[in-house]
Symmetry: C2
Subunit: 455 residues, 2 copies
């Protein structure tokens, strides 16, 4: 059932489409920014998407972009794009507070690699978006623009909230568990967590081995373009090839065969979400796309079994990788760490290097198992979350639907195609390692052929 | 020819040997620190090894260590070890200035992973040691304790100078080209550059894909122990197994067959250095160790050919990986970047992502070629540098002997076994990926059976 368009709803602000007008001289990046600033003025006091907002800097950047478009020399296709930067990511001209009072006002004195790339590409950096404490669990007050009583998700809370109501066209997020896919799903944006290492993380304080810097944006094309403009300038993590794919969003490609992954999220998903997912699978079959599940395919069943513990496995890996940092934070001032973080520190102090190595080996085994699906399927589908954003802002929601792609190190996309009771929910695509472009091609086809569905 | 011991020469300060006295109560970490402080008082004004020196903090840490040893509960075998931390590595209680006026007084507000581990192991952090600008080329005034008119090498200049004259028992360095092996060679210390990723680099601002955090120390056993105490607490780089090996320095093991690598350094090495190396190879043969070279082994010759361009290849990789950072530094204040760095920035701006990927592929090819030697040889030998530290402190010396292990991502050790005209020179061991323990076992045997040789 298609959801009716409602004008009063928060709306995303697509960017690439408008640049034709920039080129033709019928609109300017400065005009476009001003529209974002109106939205910011109207909604930020309620939504709380930003920690730092640099109106003057943004205007100056938009004016410079306007001049480049007028001269017919935009720095890139995203020249003039208003963007937010998750406050776990370093910016030379603004503090990077990491969602923690321990880093209030702290300055890196440099841009992260991805921010450096975006500036070079002409993006207009609006400010720093709210992150949960150290990009983990503890929320920092941001509200969902679709309903202020609901969480925007986390940890990239402010990035998704800002994009979800058009304060920005796109924003950077990061993800080690569910931190890009979940808030994108909750806020009605496109969300993209790339293959692990595909976008340079230097200067993003989310350095765990399965962490990724990701993109939240208004459209699929905007999402790809932001990622491409980063990788072409600063690569992936040092020593890796970085995101592989074309200079513009891969063309929609009809899939032949898809795998549906329940993930551990299925057991706790809301009935309406499950119904939407099942209707989608039916419609795909009616469209001639073969869809397999754990109930009819042994390889998928093996993957489902292997990823059932994706969350605790991820927590163990993340725990060993971050405990030295948390210990130092605790020693500086235990009162400035959330009780959640203090508990995580206690748990992870018990781990040994041998435990860690064993968990890495288990992760490698699961990744190889998942890789077996790449030959037989064009991609996997799953819910991006177990339902729309839950009520309340003390929790950023559940993670089990989103965590498998983190553990697997593979690309994931949340497409804002579902809606339940007026709140958005994402259809998730889980792709294959370093085949991010293939996931985008599939996403484009699904968007074009499924459209939006609601209950 | 054995070099006579001269009491007036700078002497390193071994640590593990003295801990028997700590355990017996006949000496204390505080006494040991005080001896370092005397050396510091006598020599630092000339040598200039430290950027920041925290006497009170060191005394407090040594007193706490003394109490632990008295209670029979040292935190680790290196509890009480006086150490320097290269000023490219973050410390919560001191600035991290990176050898650049752009970061004068800059504070990370956290310890790097390796520093966190060392504190937990009870090490006494004396201060931050001088690094060349951003751990690259431009020296920052440190002098060689063996002769103040000569360079200590770089980029870990202060770490090697401090250990070389016993201000500290050990210090952390980093290396992406020659920055640990070369200064260790010049200053008469043991130097260890591990397998790439083997020691956690988080918080060490040397993040290039072939960068490593390394150890410079008074003895081989001290060197291993420092590395082990780091890895057992914080692992290697996130997602990797980290340094593999026993809880104490691997026992000396007689090699059967060694490969001698000329490297690109041989062509510019001093005659006296080449003579020492050749005598060493002769003595090994007399000891029944088979030694092969490019002139009698095709696999070695293939490696020599492949690593001939190790330095320019490394520069290309490093250039792509750091140009965004250098560009940001330039934009902040071009006058605060050395002319060397400005030139490097211009050169690397011309690189494309495709160039970078091609260079990574070439590096992978060379690494595989080198890996072929692991089955046939117990390790490789080379000069650690083309001669002792050259006169003058405006340059940190030549790199071609030390750079191959960086490109190859394999462990390297500099053993202070050679001497020319009263100045130290290292014998280099180049090992195999993740077989660092094997390189230490070989190093111990060479030290025990070759002794020191001089011209």
């Amino acid at each position: 059932m298609l959801a009716p368009e409602q004008e009063t709803r928060p709306a995303v602000r697509p960017f690439l489409a408008i640049t034709k007008q920039f080129a033709a001289g019928t609109a300017t990046p400065r005009d476009f920014l001003d529209a974002c600033l109106v939205e910011f003025a109207n909604r930020e006091k309620d939504v709380g998407a930003f920690v730092t907002f640099d109106i003057e800097g943004a205007r100056a950047a938009a004016d410079a972009s306007t001049a480049r478009w007028k001269a017919g020399k935009p720095a890139s296709p995203i020249d003039g794009m208003p963007m937010g930067i998750k406050d776990i990511i370093e910016t030379a001209d603004m503090p990077t507070e990491m969602g923690s009072p321990l880093f209030a006002g702290w300055r890196s004195e440099k841009d992260a690699a991805c921010v450096s790339a975006l500036r070079q590409a002409g993006a207009v950096i609006l400010g720093k978006t709210v992150t949960t404490e150290f990009a983990a669990t503890q929320p920092r007050g941001t509200r969902n623009p679709h309903n202020l009583e609901h969480t925007p998700g986390g940890s990239s809370s402010g990035s998704a909230a800002a994009v979800g109501c058009g304060m920005a066209s796109a924003a950077l997020g990061t993800q080690v568990i569910a931190s890009t896919i979940r808030p994108a799903s909750y806020c009605g944006c496109y969300g993209y967590k790339p293959s692990v290492n595909a976008l340079n993380r230097e200067g993003c304080h989310d350095y765990q081995s399965q962490s990724c810097t990701g993109v939240i944006a208004a459209t699929l094309e905007d999402t790809w373009q932001v990622a491409f403009e980063i990788v072409t300038r600063v690569g992936g993590d040092a020593g890796t090839p970085g995101l592989i794919g074309p200079a513009t969003c891969p063309a929609p490609t009809r899939p032949k065969r898809l795998a549906f992954l329940e993930t551990a999220g299925w057991a706790i998903a809301e009935p309406a979400a499950k119904a939407l997912m099942q209707e989608t699978l039916q419609r795909l079959k009616q469209n001639g796309v073969a869809v397999s599940t754990r109930h009819d395919d042994a390889a998928i069943d093996a993957v489902e079994t292997a990823i059932a513990d994706a969350h605790p496995l991820s927590n163990r890996i993340n725990g060993f990788e971050t405990r030295w940092f948390l210990r130092g934070a605790y020693q500086r001032d235990p009162e400035k760490l959330s009780s959640f973080m203090r508990e995580r520190l206690v748990e992870s102090e018990a781990l040994t290097l041998a435990d860690y190595r064993a968990t890495l080996a288990e992760r490698a085994r699961i990744r190889a198992l998942y890789g077996n699906l790449a030959g037989g399927f064009d991609g996997c589908l799953a819910l991006a979350a177990g339902g729309p954003a839950p009520r309340g802002i003390a929790s950023s929601g559940n993670a089990p639907s989103a965590v498998p792609s983190s553990l697997l190190g593979v690309p994931a996309l949340s497409l804002p195609l579902f809606e339940i009771d007026g709140m958005p929910l994402g259809l998730q695509i889980i792709g294959f390692f370093n085949e991010d472009a293939r996931a985008f091609a599939l996403a484009g086809w699904l968007r074009d052929h499924l459209g939006r569905a609601g209950h």
